[in-house]
Amino acid sequence: MRKFDYTDEAIGSREIMIAGPAMIMGVGILSLPNLLTKETIGVDGWIPIVVGGILFICLSWSITKMVSLFPGKSFTEFTSIIAGKPIAIIVTLIYAFIMFLFASYTVSNLGNVAEKYILYETPFQVTTLAFFLVVIYAVAGSRVGLLRLNVMFFPIIVFIVLVVMGFSLQFVKTDHLQPMFQTDLKNYAQGVKSALLSFVGIGILWFYTPYMRHSDRAPGRVAFGIGLVTILYLLVFIVTVGVFGHDVTANMVYPSVELAKAIEIPGEFFERFESLFFVIWTMVLFNSASMALDVMTLALTTIFTKFRKQTVLYIVAPLVYVMAMVPNDIVMHRIYGTFIGNLAFIYTVFVLVLLFVLMKIRGVR
């Protein structure tokens, strides 16, 4: 038997590998097929997914690589080495703000879907509050504990997604998978833009990698994790379009939920498969929301070093909850999601480029 070695507060390479996918999947998986079919023809949407996936693999690899050049230094510490203290503080604060928006969006996303499919009468505020309290509880505890929880959840999530896809295979029509390669370049670009939204959230790597035991192992592992998500997304996309066809997928609000609803295991034994799907989806959202909140408190505590993590958390948590109440209809919700997605992506790339350029100019090693 292996030795029990979890008594330390260092993040292992397996935890960081799962953290990326766990953060990303919550927002993307429900509406990804819909967003992509809107822009592309047939199943051509797989190309934007692959392009987006590769882009994010490179991005996450570069982020972790850069962090691992400064072993043991937190994000704010090494950005101050590279860019000076004031810039480091501003960069960190903006990250905290993005994570703040991200956490509130995730919470509101949960409430939105729960209200739509499961709890019709229960007030939105109550569903989200119940969920959010658990998230706060998780964040208030050990940071590594949170990441290890991801590691526990992730296989369950992947398993259920695979089961849903497996049972859907019987409804896949090969006719739906043609025509191929008919989308023009402009629409491919639009598709890539939509696909990028489904990979949002890797900014957490800036903050978690410094706490790793062997941060030099991170780049490879993280790239592998994002690769996993890409493959999972590809599978979900192709099966969804294969089952519903291009036109229907482009006209559904949450194709993946419909896919889970469409499953009927022969013999009328198991018809309500979507309930299971919602369970794992809640788990995914829990992962995303708690990590976003955790990274936000982490970012703030590295600036305001006087405060305890819990104090910061209890101050910002009510704000997150209030912010989650803002997008109160489906259109607002989509706009909010797109906004956060674009903001987070552009900002992450911006910070990466900024730090890299400054490193080269100043010759920091």
Partner: protein, 391 residues
């Protein structure tokens, strides 16, 4: 100590807060399950929106229960009808008149009357609610009734507890047969509605209280309206030409004696030649395998040449059926139910993009398609008897 007390109180307060409301609590005994819905024309007025009637079939759980309860003569279902303009409003209206909350989660069939379906774009309008409402499942089967749709829900039958269940099970059993159109899930209907090609729906007819399922309702793609129907022979032709089937009978004469070819499975494949987009050539290639089901003659059938001859005769008959369907679709219905347009979109996207507006409307290029039908029927077994009669 005081701090502990405060935090304890806070936790209790929260627990109480969350215990007040089971907002979504709903006992199964308080539910009323709708298993079938039928939509009819209630009142046809010109220059106005049509008034429709919605009939919902509810199951009565007490009537269905286990048979050892003695009297099983209880009624097992009840039908409620309401008239108005919107199905969603009507179902709400029906709900307000029943003591239990209706649940559509177990809706199995949805029937439209032919009269309703003849109105342009009526099917997409009226089926919208059945695809939008999150309670609805995409597995609901959609049918067209020749006469009143309500009659299907009131049909007399003895084998199942409700007419809905009867229709549902019948079509589940008959899937893959060449005599009936495969049951159509509402999810697939949405696909048909969103596409511009023509399509067919299973059609139900009642003759002397007997349900007949061997015909098909044909919908014209661009305006989604019913333009005609396929009779029993044309339905067979349609299934052979477009579907993968695994059951069905083909009757033919061999040397002036009747014979029946029992289909084990058939597969069809379409290839197109679009060199001249205005005169597309379509090659329909059907491969069938089957058994000798019955023969009235006295020839020995354990004979390769003779079996081949029977197979060829069966193939000729199937070819004839397919050609009848093609003729009707081109000359009478002008509806591309054979899926040439769809195949063109998949394989020759650029050609399709240029002429899809003139495919089944405008110039009607579909009518110019030349079909080349080739059927290959194999006889793989003759059953357990060689001859039942000496010559």
């Amino acid at each position: 100590m005081a701090k502990r007390l405060v935090s304890c109180l806070m936790v209790y307060g929260l627990v109480i807060f969350f215990m007040t409301g089971c907002w979504d609590e709903m006992n199964i005994e308080e539910r009323n399950f709708v298993v079938g819905s039928a939509l009819d024309v209630a009142d046809k007025k010109e220059r106005q929106d049509m008034t429709i009637s919605l009939t919902d079939q509810f199951v009565i759980p007490g009537g269905i229960g286990p048979p050892e309860g003695g009297e099983s003569a209880d009624k097992t279902y009840t039908n409620e009808t309401a008239k108005g303009k919107n199905p969603q409003v009507l179902s709400h209206y029906i709900a307000s008149g029943t003591s239990r909350k209706p649940s559509y989660q177990h809706l199995k069939i949805l029937v439209f009357s032919e009269e309703l379906a003849k109105q342009p774009n009526m099917i997409p309008k009226l089926s919208d609610m059945f695809m939008r409402d999150v309670d609805m499942r995409r597995g609901v089967k959609v049918f067209i009734a020749e006469d009143k749709a309500k009659d299907i829900l009131e049909m007399e039958q003895d084998t199942e507890q409700t007419p809905t269940r009867f229709v549902n099970m019948l079509f589940e059993k008959n899937d893959g047969s060449i005599e009936t159109i495969n049951s159509l899930r509402i999810g697939i209907l949405q696909e048909f509605l969103l596409r511009e090609n023509s399509y067919v729906l299973p059609r139900l007819t009642l003759e002397n209280e007997e349900l007949n399922t061997n015909s098909a309702a044909v919908f014209h793609g661009p305006d989604n309206k019913l333009v005609g129907s396929l009779n029993a022979r044309e339905t067979k032709g349609y299934n052979l030409a477009t579907q993968t089937t695994k059951e069905g009978m083909v009757e033919m004469n061999v040397d002036d004696e009747r014979m029946v070819y029992k289909i084990a499975d058939t597969r069809s494949k379409m290839t197109l030649n679009v060199d001249d987009p205005h005169h597309v050539e379509a090659y329909i290639d059907v491969k069938a395998e089957g058994f000798l089901g019955e023969m009235f003659g006295s020839e020995s059938v354990i004979n390769a040449n003779y079996l081949k001859k029977i197979g060829n005769k069966a193939a000729d008959k199937m070819e004839k059926l397919i050609k009848e369907t093609i003729k009707k679709s081109q000359e009478e219905l002008h509806a591309d139910i054979l899926g040439v347009g769809g195949e063109m979109k998949r394989k020759h996207y650029n050609v399709w993009k240029k002429l899809h507006n003139d495919w089944e409307g405008g110039e009607n290029y579909f009518d110019n398609v030349t079909f080349h039908v080739k059927v290959d029927a194999k006889m793989i077994d003759v059953g357990s008897t060689d001859r039942t009669k000496q010559n």
